[in-house]
Every structure is written in C-alpha cells, then in structure tokens.
C-alpha cells in the first residue's frame, strides 16, 4: 500500500458495491411470477448500500488528506501486467457514492409504473448500480474502465426493452455514442500503461504532477495532449457537453422514468467525476493549456442548452436539455482553475443529481396519467392536483437555482469562482453564462405556466393527486434540495480537502 496515502483500510466499499450484485443473483433465483419477493429483494439490495454509504459518510474524516476506506488486492497478474482491486474514496467521490445509493433506492418505487415490468428489469437495475458504484470507488484505471463498461450494458437494455416507442433507436444511439468514448479512453489507457507501466490512478497523478509522461509526440501534438483530448472526449460525451450531447434527449425521452432519474442523476456525473478523477490530474499540463477552451465549451453548453430547452414542446425533452445547460456549469467551474470554481462544480454535480432527478420524477407523474408530454396540451393541472403542484414547484425552482436551494449555492460558487480565474477572459464567460441563468428561469416558468396554471383543460379534471408512492420517491430528493441549500457545509466540508488536493495538482501544472 505504498502507492497512495490512505487513512484506513476497510472492505466496506466492496460491500457497498457488491451487495446489489448479490441482490441481483438472488433476484435471478426467484421465479418470475413472484414479483413481490423480487421487489422486496431489490428494496433490500438498494437500501443496505445506502445505510452503509451513510455510515461511511459520517465516519469520514474530513481533515485527512488522502483516501479513506481503501482496499488493495491483486486481481490480474500476467508477468509485469498487474491489475489491482484498488479502491478508496475521498471528498470528491464520497458524495457521489452516497447520491448513487439514494437515487437507486428512489428508483425502485418509481419503477412501479414501468410497463412490462419483469424480473430482468430489477436484475439489470441492480447490475447498473454495481457498475456505477464501481466507477466511483475505483482507484485503478483498469478497474475503472471495467466498471465503466459494466454500467453500459444494463443501461442499454433498460432503455432498449422498457423504453418508449423509439426505444431501440435511443438505446443504440446511447450505447454507440458512449462506446465511442470508451474506445478513446481505452486507447489513452493503453498508451499510458505502455508509457509508465501502471494502472494506479494515484500513481498516474503523481506522474502527471511531475510531468513524467514520456510518450512520443504524434502529428505535432505531444503525448499528453493526445491523452488529454482522448480522455476529455470520452468524459465529455458522458457529461454531456456540447457538441456531444445529442444522445441525451433521445435517451431521456425514450427511457422509463426511473431510468431517466438514474441517467440524469448519476450517469452524467460519471462524466464530470471522470474528468476530475481520471483526466485533469493525470495530465494537468495539457489541461491547463486548454482550460479556456473547456470553459468556452461549458458556457456554450449553458446558454445553448437553455435556448434549446426553451424551444422544446416535449416536457421531458425540455428537462433533458436543462441537464445539458446545468452540466455546463460543471465544466465552466472546473476550467476556471480556482478553488471556488472547482467546489462549485463538484457541488453542482451533486445538486444537479437531486434536482434533475426530482424533475424527471415530476414529469413521470404527469406522464403516467396523461400518457403524453406535450407542454402545449396541458393546462390548469394544479387545480385537480394541488399537492403535485406544490412538489413540482419545489423541484423546478430547485432546478432553476433559486437561492435558498441547493442549486443556487453551486451555481453561485461556480460563477463567482470563474470570475476569480487568473485568466481574465473568464469574466466574459461568466457574463455570458448569466444569460443562461435568465433563460433557465424562462423555460422553467413557461413550462410551469403551460402545465399547471391557467384554465383547466377538461380532459384532466379527474386526475388523481400525487400518490403516496410517488411522494415517497420525490420527497427525499426535494428534502436534499432544500436542506443543502440552507446547510451547504454538509457537502462542502467533505469536499474541502479533496478539492484542495486536486487544485494543488492542477495549479502545479500551470
């Protein structure tokens, strides 16, 4: 265990990751007619990781610089080719691990409304959780890549089998697009391994910090530049950043509600997390060279995403594009290369995870009743469904970044942090992204008006208000949106050391 600083060793991360896998095995053993047992197992297999993750969260030492709850066990050994089960968490990954466990638990009751629900659905859902959690805890690039691919497959089937009318198209688009990114990642990974002979992410960071990559230049670009762009594109597809975002709306619109929740809530965060864990600190010099370009991409995502969202007439598509816009803040904040910006970006990932997931749940509620999502065909839904209106208001205003709610803290930190950037051109970027802030209010309020307010469309007058099950899914997310808006230090304190550590690597590259 000499490759990286570790506070304590524990197998708890392995348990968190593989309990869903055990659950999946159990689900597969139950006869497919016995749905209640299957659901029960799924609840247990998603609830236990949440409990364990919460234990880890509050047991985490926020003053320690390095990784915690780590584990390192040799996995594959072929001569000098060594792959480890090397896991551990720090302030950057821990909040996302926790977010994953909560969102997967939320997705289970939300799955009730999925048509053609079957045993395989729950099994795949649990497998998906394994893949996602694995990515977040991996400190070995090979392991990281394996989990990255593990996650891809269940998602493909979950969209492709249980999705909307055009599910096959959307699923294939999602799969191929992400796979294209994975291939780039694999190429970079192999190149780096051949260069320095290690898969250990902490070691790679150390090499990057010392400028130790010695690979050859190619076509006038240095080795690290190639590696940087390959990795960046791989993760930018996932974020998704303009112009790699078009798989997202299709995947969202076709995916069933709980899958949209997971897609927006966590899968997009894998992109942002990948950047700060497995791209920027590994090739910090290349990153700082291109930071402004990344900031520009972020701002384009913010403003362009908001404009396109404003132009949508499909409720879910609008929320999907709002994700593009909101995730642009993540890229902008990271590119600014300031502590504020980086913290804002890290916080934005978590907060977008809760608020966008809540928005998709809200859309799912009305879709289950109306079986369409045409914004222009609704009207006055607040009258038969007052509680639904109240909860939707919270969800959408959280997404809008209303001060007092979580999204504001992260957006404000990002904007303020970008303003502070040593590169003064970022001040212009912040000014432009302010336009995105206004447009966000525009599309959200316009959507709320068209769906909920005004005269009631007679078709909807008998709609049942939001049910207990739906509230059960929505309530924890809305609670987090408000709670973290008032007490942001419950995340920021945890992220503090991790971000500072990261910044020390990135700024050395300057």
């Amino acid at each position: 265990m000499d490759s990286f600083t570790v506070l304590n060793h524990s197998s708890i991360l392995a348990w968190i990751t593989f309990i869903p896998l055990i659950g999946m095995a159990a689900v597969l053993c139950v006869p497919r007619t016995n749905m209640s047992v299957i659901k029960g197992i799924t609840y247990v297999a998603t609830f236990v990781p949440l409990v364990l993750a919460t234990v880890v969260y509050f047991g985490y030492d926020t003053n320690f610089q390095g990784y915690q709850y780590a584990q390192e066990v040799p996995w594959i050994k072929l001569g000098s080719f060594e792959v480890f089960w090397r896991v551990g968490i720090d302030g950057l990954s821990l909040p996302l691990v926790w977010l994953t466990t909560i969102l997967l638990l939320v997705a289970v009751p939300a799955s009730e409304s999925v048509p053609r629900l079957s045993k395989a659905y729950y099994a795949l859902l649990l497998l998906l959780e394994v893949g996602i959690l694995g990515v977040f805890i991996s400190l070995d690039y090979f392991l990281f890549y394996v989990f990255w691919e593990v996650m891809l497959l269940p998602m493909y089937f979950l969209i492709g089998i249980w999705g909307g009318p055009q599910r096959e198209y959307a699923a294939i688009k999602f799969f191929l697009y992400t796979l294209a990114g994975s291939v780039l990642m694999l190429v970079a990974l192999v190149a780096m391994y051949l260069d320095q002979g290690t898969f250990s992410i902490p070691q790679m960071m150390a090499i990057g910090k010392a400028g130790g990559w010695t690979g050859p230049s190619l076509l006038g670009m240095t080795f690290t530049t190639w590696v940087f762009w390959f990795l960046f594109i791989a993760f930018a597809i996932k974020i998704p950043s303009f112009p790699f975002h078009t798989w997202l709306p299709d995947a969202h619109v076709q995916a069933p509600t709980p899958i949209s929740v997971i897609l927006a809530g966590i899968l997009l965060k894998l992109g942002g997390y990948g950047l700060i864990r497995a791209c920027f600190p590994i090739v910090p010099h290349a990153f700082t060279d291109f930071a402004f370009a990344l900031g520009v991409l972020g701002v384009i995502s913010i403003v362009y995403g908001a404009y396109v969202a404003l132009g949508q007439s499909d409720f879910k598509r609008m929320v999907a594009y709002s994700s593009v816009s909101h995730m642009g803040f993540v890229l902008l904040g990271m590119a600014a290369l300031t502590e504020f910006g980086m913290k804002g970006a890290a916080l934005q990932m978590f907060n977008h995870g809760t608020s966008s997931a809540a928005c998709f749940l809200v859309v799912g509620v009305i879709y289950d009743r109306a079986h369409h999502r045409d914004l222009n065909a609704f009207g006055g839904v607040a009258q038969p469904m007052p509680r639904y209106w109240a909860l939707s208001t919270v969800a959408f205003f959280a997404s809008l970044g209303l001060p007092g709610m979580a999204g504001f803290v992260s957006e404000a930190l990002t904007l303020v942090g970008s303003f502070q950037s040593a590169d003064t051109r970022f001040q212009i970027l912040v000014l432009i992204s302010c336009l995105g802030v206004v447009l966000t209010a525009a599309y959200i309020l316009w959507a709320l008006q068209r769906v909920f307010l005004g005269p009631l469309n007679e078709k909807y007058k008998d709609y049942k208000d939001i049910t207990g099950r739906e509230i059960f899914s929505l309530a924890p997310l809305l609670f987090l949106c408000i709670f973290l808006g008032i007490f942001p230090f419950y995340l920021l304190d945890w992220m503090d050391i991790g971000v500072k550590d990261l910044m020390s690597i990135l700024l050395l590259g300057k």
Partner: protein
C-alpha cells in the same frame, strides 16, 4: 487597516435572539400552515396573524432599543458576528478551512431598525386585513402560508449582514411574489385565471433579469475589490494587511472607501461598472424603467398582496439595497440612479393619470413613488436619507391606499373599474376617510407624512443640482416636481371618481357596503401612520442638517450609517468639488464628516434648496388638486374633451407608451425565435452530424458486407473454383488405367528425347 470596532455597538445575546426570532416566527408559521393549515380551525389564519402580532411587537420594541442607542452623535450599528452570534454558511465542521468561508450573522442598525419595524407593522395589518378580504377563497390556507413565508424573507433581508444573504432572501421574495401573484391562476372561479398565470411568470422573469445583474455585480465586488485593494497595499498607498474577498456590508463599505481615498477620491472604472450592475437589481425589484413592466401586471394578485409586497415591502427592498450599498456607488452610478429614478417617477405618473382600474392607478403610483426614492438617493448623501425616509412613509400610506382600494373592491363585489363606481363615501365612510388621508399624504399635504419625505426629496434634488450639475440631478430636479403634481392629480382623480359624484353603476352601488371590522381596523391604523408617520422626521424644516432630537435623522444619518466611511471624501466629495475636507487628518471620521457637513449646510444657506423645494411642492400640490377638482369633482372641464384635446399624446400614454408591446415584439419574440432556431440547429446540424456519422458507419458496414460477400469471399471462391477446375482437369488424367499411364510415360519420354535431340 484602521480599527473601527469601537464604532460598533454590542447588543446582549437575548436581543440577538429576539431579532433572530423575528424572521423565524413566520417561517415556523409557514411550515405549520403548509402541512396542517387546512385542518386547523379557520384554516390557521389566526395562528399566522397572531404570530405576526408577536413579530410586530418585537420589531417595535427593538426599534425603541435602537432608538435608545442613537444619540445623534455616535454610530449605532451592531453586528451579531462581533458579539459571537453567527455561523459560517459554507463551513461548519472545518472552521479552520481557509479560502471558502462565508461568516453570516445579523446586522442591526438604524436603517435596519426602521425598516424592520415598518415591515413588522405593515405585515401584521395586512394579515389582519386578509382574514376579512380573503374569506371564502378556495386556497385560503395556502394564501396565508405563502404570505407568511414572504414575510420571513423580507425580515431576513432586512437583518442580513452580507449582500449574499440579502440576495438569497431577495430571490426568495421573488418566488413568493410569483406564487402570490399567481394565487388566482389556480382558481377556476376566477375570471382572470389566464392573466394571473401570465402575470406571475412575467414578474419573476423581469425581476430575474435585474437579479442576475445584481449577482454579477456582487461577484465583481467580491473579487475585484480585494485585487485592487491589495495592489494599493503593495504600492504603499494603503497601510493595511492584504485582504480576501467579502460579502459583508461593513467590510465592503470600509474597503471600497479606502480604495477610493487611496485613489485620491476617484472611483476606479470597475467599481462604476459593478455599481451599475448592482443598481440593475434595484431596477428589477423596485420596478424602475425599463424593467417596470411587471408591476402593473402584478396587480392580478389578491389586493393584500399588492399592498404588502408590491407597495410596502418587496419593491422597497430595491431602495433598501441602495441604502445598503451606497458607499460603493461612484458619482457616475449615482447620476445614472438619479436619472433613471427621476424619469421613472414622471413616466409612471403620466400613465397613472390615464388608468381606470383602481389598483392600476395605485400600481403606477407605486412605480412613480419608487422613482422618487431612487432619484433621491441618486442625488447624493442628503437625498439618501430623504429617499430612505420616503420608503418608510410610503410603506404606510401606500399599503393603506391599497388596502382601502381592496376594501372598495370587496364592498363592490370585485369591481375594479372606477368608471362604475362613484358616490361611495356615504356607504363606506371609514374606507373613504382612510383613503382621503393617505391621498393627502402621498400628495405631500403639509403635516401629513408624505409631505416630510417628498419635500425632502425635492430639496435634495435641488441641492444636488446646485452642488453638482449633471444629467442625473438635472433629471431629478425637472422631473420630480412635475411628477409630484401629477401624483396629486391622479390621486384626487381616484378619490373623486370613486367616492364623490353620483353612483354610475346601479348594480355596483346596490352591493356597496362597508367592510368588516378586521379590514377597517387595519386600514385605520395604517392611515393613522400615514398621517403621523412623518413626525419621525425632523421638526425643523429650515435647517436641513443641524437638527437634533428627532427620530429618523438620528437613526439614519448619512454621516453615521457607514462606520469608518467618510462620504464627504468619496461620494459627496465627487459631487461637490467646492466642499473642502474639513480637517485634513486626525480627528474622528465622524467629526470630520460632521465638519464637512456643516460646511455643506453653510453652503446651502446661500441658496436654500429647502425653501425653494417647499414652495415648489406646495405649488404643484395645489395645481394638481385644482386640476382634479375641475375635471372630476366640479366637472367644469369634461375629461373626455380634455383627453380628446390631448390627441395622439393621450393615446400614447393610455397605452403605457406601448412598452409591453415593444418588449413582446423584440425581447420575448426574439428569445423564442432564437430558441426555435437553436432547436432546429440542434436537431438538424449537431444531431445531424452524429446521425451522419452513424449513417456513414452503417453504409460502410453494408459496403463491407457486400465487399466481403462479393470481393473477399469472391476471391476465396475464385481460388476455390480455380482449384476445383484445375482438379477436374487433372482428374481426367487420374483414370487408374495402366495402359494410359504407360502411354503418357512413353509420350513424355519421346518429348524429352525430342527436346534433347533438337537442342
């Protein structure tokens, strides 16, 4: 950095706790109300109203505490963080963490005390009024919950000690304003359900534009101020330690003024830019031109909401913000502030003269009055105090006017068109009396509250002009008296059309009745404040600066509002080149400021703007009333003929200068058009590229399949076929017959022999 801690007052912990309770009571009330309100007796209105009663008592009590601390000589400003009462918003478990931290606490000073008491009093009476006015509403308990949360936000805003928290509450008020304007947008019995839905969105969107400006301005101050400051420290122009960014008001004031002083009184350009961005927040929230368009539409909300949010409190928050950020404003910014405010005051007043909706008149009147306050602050330090005082008096009389209008509307069965009213004074005597008092007050009738504040504002404008002639002070000087004249005219037009003359609509008149006690009590108390509220101001109208022993000027004095800041060296010095610094160095800042102010007062005596202002304001008052009497009471001049004579100009004004239409045609259509274009680009170009790549891949796949089948496999087949063909030929020779093999051998032998023989 000079030590200014001795300028701060320390409050005991129990007082801080009391102040903290002020916003928390309505917050707790909200939580109870939203979850259980429907099941409480009377849907919980008594609970929230009683809670607000407690809040009112605390705020008034604390007002007197603050009053006790203000002697007219020293400073009164207290920060809870200095008394160990506060928290760090961004850090808790790691207080030692550097960089990202935001210590947050309460701030209580004279301005805060006055504003807090105003909000507490007005909120309580609006709650009380609502228990009558909103009776029978379908979403009664939600209404109370929302208005309670709004009160929480407003009280929190007043108590915030840093601009970020001010902004948080600011936006939260925006949300509550959105929900309350849209109150009827979910009520199927309302006939204006569609308009309410549009109005609430418009209000939030328009203010959001200003809010984003404010956020950007805050970010500029947070980062550029320390950058500039530290630069000056390095150059040795400021003798202090290097600093980090801050949102804290007192630190911002001190550091900004140190930077300005180190620059020799000149404001750096970035500070002007940042100041303009911050003023953008005021323009949005306080409905100044050109972002005023949301406020008239906001009248779709229930009348108590209009009284509280859109007259007394939330819209005044923009003015409050100017008061809180005044030392950050460069003279250029102030000139813009004065120009925008002055223009808005006159512009809105002209529209107010043409509106027939009783609430519409009051809405434009509010915009106009906010313009007065803003313009006044733009005219410099004296105007600042006058503008803030107008904010207080306006809160009383305008909330009373709105509630009285609500009482009229309630009595007339939700009729809002003044053309259908008339002669109501006999049927609604209390309402009439209250409305008359407050109309006189807003018109600036001597001895009424509005007189003191409005007269001050006009004096400040005249004084500002004489000290420093610029576009802003000129606009204020020209526009404000005209606007004051129109104010009187439209208010008396309202009074005469509503309460005098003969009933114009039989149906309305038949239903008209006085409102129940809870409504009349509320308007009576507010009318009393609208009458006597002016006595918080000084009683010596001839000495503009030297007055002592009065309430407001001692609590809110530009010399002592900003500890450690000498406005004569920054804002005021920039505006009055003729005012030398009283004492070059040494002596307390207050003393210096006081001396400079004395000098200023002396300067004033040469041309006493106050006397001129009083003459002017009385003159415009009389003209306004006379016009209204002629047109609407005695009906000597037929209004229809007058408007006809005004021709196109009248049409232009009556259509609100077509600004809504212009915004609709440009900003809104432009945005939606851009959105549609970008959607098209996204679907056809960005995604088109992706699909093209996909299609190319697919085509390559098909081509490969074809190639594989026909070329690659064809080659294989060819090889196979050739082999086979060769085999079939060779097979002919493999007959198995010995004779044939022998004959081949012989033939071969002959061939070989022949070859040898021939060569």
């Amino acid at each position: 950095m000079p030590d200014t801690s001795h300028l701060f007052t320390s409050l005991p912990t129990w007082q801080w706790q009391l102040l903290l309770a002020v916003p928390l009571i309505p917050l707790v009330g909200y939580v109870i109300q939203i979850f259980w309100g429907k099941h409480l007796p009377r849907q919980g209105d008594w609970l929230l109203t009683a809670g607000m009663g407690v809040v009112m008592c605390i705020t008034v009590y604390m007002f007197f505490i603050a009053r006790g601390h203000s002697s007219g000589e020293g400073y009164f400003i207290a920060e809870s963080l200095r008394d160990g009462f506060g928290w760090d918003w961004l850090h808790r478990a790691r207080p030692q963490a550097e960089g990202l931290s935001l210590p947050t606490g309460l701030m209580y000073d004279g301005l805060g005390a006055a504003m807090l008491a105003v909000v507490g009093v007005v909120s309580f009476f609006v709650h009380l009024f609502s228990t009558g006015y909103m009776k029978g509403d379908r979403r009664y308990h939600i209404f109370f919950a929302n208005i309670s949360l709004f009160t929480f936000a407003m009280l929190g805003l007043v108590l915030s000690d840093n601009i970020l928290f001010l902004f948080i509450f600011w936006e939260l008020m925006g949300l509550m304003s959105y929900l309350l304007i849209g109150h009827f947008s979910q009520d199927p019995t309302s006939h204006r359900i569609r308009q309410a839905a549009a109005a609430c969105k418009k209000a939030f969107m328009t203010t959001r534009v200003g809010d984003t400006c404010l956020l950007f301005g805050m970010a500029m101050f947070y980062f550029l101020l320390p950058e500039h400051f530290n630069e000056l420290v390095e150059q040795g122009k400021i003798h202090a330690d290097k600093i980090g960014g801050t949102f804290n008001f007192t630190l911002l004031w001190q550091r900004a003024s140190m930077v300005v002083e180190a620059n020799g009184g000149a404001y750096p350009i970035w500070m002007t830019t940042a100041g303009l961005f911050i003023f953008g927040g005021t323009v949005g929230k306080s409905a100044q031109f050109p972002l005023h368009i949301w406020l008239p539409d906001a009248m779709e909300g229930p009348t108590p909401v209009s009284a509280m949010i859109h007259a007394a409190t939330m819209v005044a928050a923009g003015v409050f913000l100017l008061g809180r950020t005044f030392p950050l404003m460069s003279p250029t910014v102030l000139a813009v502030v004065a120009a925008v405010g002055g223009f808005t005051a006159l512009f809105a007043a002209t529209i107010g003269c043409t509106v027939f909706d009783i609430k519409g008149v009051l809405a434009y009147s509010t915009i106009s009055q906010l313009g007065f306050m803003v313009a006044s602050i733009g005219c410099g330090a004296l105007g600042l105090v006058a503008g803030l005082f107008h904010m207080v008096t306006h809160a009383f009389f305008k909330s009373c006017l709105f509630l009285s209008a609500g009482s009229v509307i309630h009595g007339c069965h939700h009729e809002q068109d003044m053309r259908k009213m008339g002669g109501l004074r006999k049927k609604m005597p209390i309402t009439f009396a209250c409305m008359l008092i407050c109309s006189l007050s807003i018109s600036g009738m001597p001895l009424f509250a509005g007189f003191y504040s409005k007269d001050r504002i006009i004096a400040a404008a005249f004084g500002g002009l004489s000290l420093n002639f610029n576009g802003g002070t000129f606009a204020a000087t020209v526009f404000l008296p005209l606007a004051a004249c129109l104010t009187t005219f439209y208010m008396f037009r309202l009074i005469f059309m509503t309460f005098f003359g003969e009933p114009r609509d039989h149906h309305v008149d038949e239903h008209a009745h006085e409102s129940p006690w809870n409504m009349t009590v509320a308007i009576s108390v507010l009318a009393t404040l609208g009458l006597f509220g002016g006595y918080f101001w000084l009683m010596h109208p001839t000495s503009p600066l030297g007055a002592h022993g009065t309430w407001f000027t001692e609590m809110v004095d530009w010399r002592t509002m900003y500890p450690g800041v000498d406005l004569t060296r920054t804002n005021l010095a920039g505006m009055a080149a003729s005012v030398p610094h009283a004492a070059a160095h040494g002596g307390s800042a207050l003393h210096e400021a006081g001396a400079a102010a004395e000098h200023l007062a002396h300067f004033y005596h040469g041309f006493n703007p106050h006397v001129t202002a009083m003459i002017a304001s009385l003159a415009v008052l009389l003209i306004g009333i006379a016009l209204a009497v002629q047109m609407y009471l005695r009906r000597k001049w037929n209004p229809a003929k007058v408007t006809g004579a005004l021709g196109e100009g009248y049409v232009w004004v009556a259509n609100k200068y077509y600004i809504d239409e212009a915004v609709q045609a440009t900003v809104i259509r432009g945005t939606i058009g851009l959105a549609a274009i970008q959607r098209w680009i996204d679907e056809n170009i960005v995604d088109g590229l992706v699909l093209t790549v996909g299609r190319i891949g697919k085509a390559l796949g098909f081509f490969s399949a074809w190639f594989d089948k026909h070329v690659v496999d064809g080659l294989v087949n060819l090889v196979g076929g050739l082999t086979q063909a060769f085999g079939s030929i060779a097979r002919l020779f493999q007959s198995g017959r010995i004779q044939q093999y022998v004959s081949f051998a012989v033939a071969g032998g002959i061939l070989v022999a022949a070859f040898h023989l021939l060569t």
